[in-house]
Amino acid sequence: MVPYAWLITAMPFIAFLIIIGVTYRRPLASALVAITCTAVSLMVSLSVLVAVIGGQTAELSLKWAEISSFKLELGVLVDPMSAVMFVVVSTITLLVQIYSIGYMHGDPGFSRFFSFLSLFAFSMLGLVSANNFLQIFMFWELVGLCSYLLIGFWYDQPGVALPPPAAGMRAFIVTRIGDVGFLIGILLLASAIPTLNFNEIFAAAEAGKLNTTLLTIAAVLIFTGAVGKSAQFPLHVWLPDAMEGPTPVSALIHAATMVAAGVYLVARTMAIFAAGPDSLLVVAYIGGFTAFLAASIGLVMTDFKRVIAYSTISQLGYMMMALGVSGAVTAGMFHLTTHAFFKALLFLAIGSVIHAAHSQEMRDLGGLGKDMKITSLTFLVGSLALAGIPPFSGFWSKDEIVHAAFASGKVGLGFLGLIVAFMTSFYIFRVYFATFWGERPAHQHGHHVHESPPTMTVPLIILAVLAVVVGWVGTPWANYFAAFLSPGEHHGGGVEGFTVMLMLVSTLIALAGILLAWAIYGRRHYDIEPLAEKSPGLYAFLSKKWFIENFYYGVIVPYGAVGLARLCAWFDRAIIDGLVNGIAGVVGGIGVSLRRFQTGYLQFYALIFFAVVVIAAVYLTLFTGLSAGI
């Protein structure tokens, strides 16, 4: 099936075209088209994965344009990393699409929604399959577009915290700042070696043909792109806002796939990072700091969707840290995979809650576990996976990261990882207890809550199963995942005492977080925040998100961008144009004074004319050689 790998990318695009061209007015047909095409993609992805496990890899390439002997190509790179991503992306896309039939039921933009979802699947799969920098950048931008369109999907709604189109715009522009860095990184590489093909560049980098400093700078610049897309500090601010989009979108784009594209990018270009090792430090520390920053904010958010959004940022930070400390792709990609499943699960589960209770504010919710058994149970599975309780998938991948941090000698980052693990299990169970346990708040009693329809619960169940089992491919005893992804290296040969101890410690830490959450929120309805009473300063600091957004949207945007722009516009009008008009005025003045000569009397003109001719004649006669004879 490997030669047909391009179908994986092409199918969703076909779906997109069919939906906007043919079935736009028939919502259910649109959904069917989208799901069928994604299913085909998934099938091809699975067969490709099987083939790749069997040892096949391939690089399909198509010459797109050749300009001054510089080749631009489009291609499909089939290797273990992309094969895994194909399966992850198409699986989650398929489940989210099925889920959306129920979630988006009756929405006037139903077909539009599915066309955008298909376009996104196309872009994301194209990004994954890229075999060169141009292609990955193109699809990188396209997933950004889909994100923009889908965040602002309900373009005429007021939104929860800000209007969806505004959120979409912020998301696009903030990520684009990162993209500029990415673009410059690509340009830097292309100026050193005249190609954009991954394998050629990596081969050159590994062979040491390229300058180390250049590679380090290029790697950091590429990482800038990942910082934007994967919502790492300092460009993380867009992701919580992106929660204004429909929840299936949050699950698919802003939890499982697109935000992980940054991690995938770093993993994909690891050869460049490895050749400029200082860049890995940047990756590790930015990742670690982001993990901590986001987790700390997640502790105090009262909108549960935002809690999970910050959790996503935090987990992405984890992945970056994994890539940074290990200098290898395995741990980060493993966490990406497990996280994709359990985070999609969490989002879809809270989507189910939002769908039923029409609120995402924890103060308004509580005691939903009785009415929504499936949702409650699947959310619990997701929470356990996120918290890192064995044998759920999150445990294995998270443990590998912490282990890698300690193993690399960056003990600080290792401890940071453990602290974040504690915070993680605390905040996610805070959400769980506050939403599904306890009593419903008094003002919500009249509103009866139903379990969601099967189109929504079935994907939840499937994802819950996956969230449990996916981690088993990468246990320290038998790390098939690592062996598959980087076959050359030595993996899971023996489990040392340190590994076992670390597993125990991290499990205990996670359990402690759960217990603390239960102690505070488990027994009563969530309405007061103990931290707010005990340490109002810290609480304000956290709930204002470290004042980072205040700085961005309160200082940089109004003064640095809009204010400066208005100043420029004024400058253009008043100074530049004024200068021009001033010159015009001077010329006009000269014209007015010259106008006196225009008496309008023909004979006056004739006189002047003749006089000039005569003067010329006299001059020629007397003062030039003309009169001296021929």
Partner: protein, 99 residues
């Protein structure tokens, strides 16, 4: 030949003087005619002196004469029109070219 040339220049100058000083448009035209004649004489003198065998000079004058005649006819027609619309034939009363 020099005499002819000087004569041509003299006639031209007289015509120009007329054009410049007269107020009546008809007089201006007469001045113009005189100027044309001066040019014609000069041209004929040169033609005879430099290239007597070729007909070029004479043909040139012929064309000038023709065009001048046409010009006079048109000019006088304009004059009549002017007299009708402006009620004056004095050039210094007509200043529509004033900017």
């Amino acid at each position: 030949m020099n005499n002819f040339l000087v004569l041509g220049a003299l006639i031209f100058a007289i015509g120009a003087y007329g054009v410049l000083t007269r107020r009546n448009v008809v007089f201006i035209f007469m001045g113009l005619e005189i100027m044309f004649s001066g040019v014609g004489i000069t041209l004929a003198a040169f033609a005879q002196h430099i290239q007597p065998a070729s007909a070029l000079g004479q043909i040139f004058i012929l064309f000038i004469l023709t065009v001048a005649a046409a010009e006079t006819a048109l000019g006088l027609a304009i004059f009549l029109r002017l007299a009708k619309t402006h009620g004056t034939v004095q050039a210094d009363k007509i200043n529509e070219l004033k900017g």
